[in-house]
């Protein structure tokens, strides 16, 4: 009951937490500024982030309308500001230029974007640049598989250890001839896979970030600890190695046939459990959780989520191993000891998993609709769906199989536990994908305030605001193109003339500096501007700030989707 209260307290606490801002590397300033027209060609392009990004992992390309590269060197950290990357460029002639940048956040996530600038005074009309594909993640299939294997193996090894030393231990005393050797061997196999998968993941991740081959060990290994993310996962490897060492000693010293544990066995088990707890804290410490305010809560929720997930998946695989390894004559008796004990632990684990998952989602998502509008939110829904299916199977075990375990029901148990283990492994795959996606930026909260959603393709939309009727036109509504933006304002059917209209652009899929343009009145009540403002494929918040002559100003927000 106390445990249930604690879980409820954690869930309630999570619900009360303020909506947080996730903190990937955000571009806060560029020189030249986005969409500006300069009269003198710049010698460098400088990008200032909100954190010190690693220049060795950064790419900055500056291209003209014919896609010729104008950058003459690789990005360097500015001596004046460690948060600024500077790239030298050729002496460029008049015309339009596209800057594409990619950097690695301290939490290991790539962030990227594009913007244009022009060198005048005769820069000409903005050309149609090829819209770069801006992906939500730089995750490749091998990287995702390595990440999944790493989580699956480390969590399973820890869960199997807990099952062996805490849950299944009495089996040896209560059932004649029963042994836990198979569970220990399964723990060994999972540990070996984890010990290989963690460095393989760090190597592959560093290879992708620094654009090198996986096999360039000489160049990549010194870079492993360059980012906070890399340091975190190398530390995870060290902690997991320490856990495996301590756990092997603990299993060697434990004599399950004796009820009382020796002092040596208790000390070794305590050491292994502390190392396991440390291992499971590191993904949160070096990932999204530590970059998301409130950090303390976020890291604790992530840790509890992984601890409960480990007990669940390790226990399920352990039960399957027990089912297969126990002699047929002792299977029912053996499972009658192990299954009820595991069910109690699994029930608490699942409740904690559910509460911490809900809490973390509340912290990471700026709005509820981000759940179905962003890839991050959709992955949470898929993961939740898989876990709910696993819980439904677990409920069958708890309510139908566990109360009257006999020969026929142990066969049902094998099927249900296998299904549950496959589903939980699938949920861990979804979690591996989830943690490789960037959570929606705080700007996404603007999405919920939108009066109308438009695009892709040419836009003709109407909005009623403060007694005015606004007609919004965007053509051709393409990314990295010169789009024409028009706003026709009427009140009572008559055009509203002489108003001041400012249009600001906020990228909603990724945090980047907003751009602002003043719209000119080109005919009575019609305010227009042609600008290459939609510099990326994705969702844009178009905020029209209208100040009618002598009237109270108001704002209308349109969420637009621009394709390349």
């Amino acid at each position: 009951m106390r445990r249930v209260c604690a879980v409820a307290a954690v869930a309630a606490g999570a619900l009360l937490l303020p909506v947080a801002a996730s903190a990937h590397a955000y571009l806060v300033r560029t020189v030249p500024a986005a969409s500006v027209t300069l009269n003198v060609a710049p010698h460098t392009v400088a990008l200032t982030f909100d954190e010190a990004v690693e220049p060795r992992f950064a790419i900055v390309s500056v291209t003209d309308a014919d896609a010729n590269q104008e950058a003459t060197g690789s990005p360097q950290r500015s001596s004046a500001n460690p948060d600024t990357l500077v790239v030298p460029i050729k002496h460029v002639p008049e015309g339009w230029y596209l800057v594409y940048w990619r950097a690695i956040s301290v939490d290991g996530h790539p962030v990227q974007g594009v913007f244009t600038f022009a060198v005048g005074p005769n820069e000409g009309p903005p050309p149609q640049f090829a819209a770069p594909h801006v992906s939500e993640t730089a995750t490749t299939t091998p990287l995702l598989i390595a990440r999944w294997l790493m989580f699956l193996a480390t969590m399973t090894a820890i869960g199997l250890f807990v099952l062996r030393v805490a849950i299944a231990r009495p089996l040896v005393r209560r059932v004649d001839g029963a042994r836990l050797r198979a569970v220990s061997i399964a723990f060994g196999v999972a540990s070996v896979i984890g010990l290989v998968a963690v460095p393989a993941y760090v190597e592959e991740s560093t290879a992708i970030d620094s654009l090198r081959s996986f096999l360039s060990f000489g160049a990549l290994v010194p870079l492993w600890r360059t980012t906070a993310f890399g340091r975190g996962y190398v530390d995870l490897w060290i902690c997991f190695t320490l856990f495996v060492g301590a756990a092997v000693v603990a299993l060697w010293l434990d004599k399950p046939e004796r009820r009382q544990r020796s002092v040596a066995s208790l000390l070794a088990t305590a050491g292994a459990l502390v190392a396991a707890a440390a291992t499971l804290a590191l993904p949160g410490v070096s990932g999204h959780a530590a970059q998301t305010s409130p950090r303390g809560w976020s890291v604790v929720l992530d840790w509890l989520h992984l601890v409960s997930g480990s007990i669940w998946i390790g226990g399920l695989i352990g039960l399957l191993v027990l089912w297969l390894s126990l002699p047929a004559a002792r299977r029912v008796a053996g499972l009658a000891v192990a299954v009820p004990r595991f069910s109690n632990a699994a029930f608490v684990s699942v409740m904690v998993l559910l509460a911490t998952g809900v809490g973390a989602s509340i912290i990471h998502l700026p709005t509820v609709d981000a759940l179905w509008l962003t890839p991050y939110g959709k992955t949470i829904l898929v993961k939740s769906g898989i876990l709910l299916a696993a819980m439904a199977v677990a409920a069958v075990n708890l309510l139908h199989v566990k109360p009257k375990l006999d020969e026929s029901r142990t066969r049902v148990l094998r099927a249900t536990v296998s299904t549950e283990a496959v589903l939980v492994a699938g949920a861990i795959f979804a979690a591996a994908l989830l943690s490789s996606l960037a959570p929606p930026p705080p700007a996404f909260a603007e999405e919920g305030k939108a009066q109308v959603r438009v695009g892709p393709g040419p836009v003709v939309a109407s909005v009623d605001e403060a007694g005015y009727k606004l007609h919004v036109l965007v053509a051709p509504n393409k990314a990295v193109a010169a789009n024409s933006f028009a706003l026709r304002i009427t009140k009572g059917g008559k055009p509203v003339t002489g108003a001041s209209v400012t249009l600001s652009f906020a990228m909603l899929d990724m945090q980047m500096p907003n751009q602002e343009y003043q719209l000119a009145e080109t005919s009575p009540g019609v305010y227009t501007r042609k600008a290459p403002a939609l510099v990326m494929v994705g969702h844009w918040g178009l905020s029209f700030e209208v100040t009618p002559k002598g009237e109270v100003p108001f704002t209308a927000l349109v969420v637009d989707r621009a394709n390349g």
Binding site: C239, S262, A270, A275, A278, T279
Partner: protein
């Protein structure tokens, strides 16, 4: 097997746990610094 060997092994395992805890505390210190 000697009880001393067991005790030494158990302290090594406990030490491994403490070392892992120190690593995490160091990481947490960096975050909250």
């Amino acid at each position: 097997m000697s009880v001393y060997v067991r005790l030494v092994a158990s302290f090594v395992a406990l030490g491994a746990g403490c070392a892992a805890a120190v690593i995490v505390i160091d990481q947490l210190r960096r975050i909250f610094a």
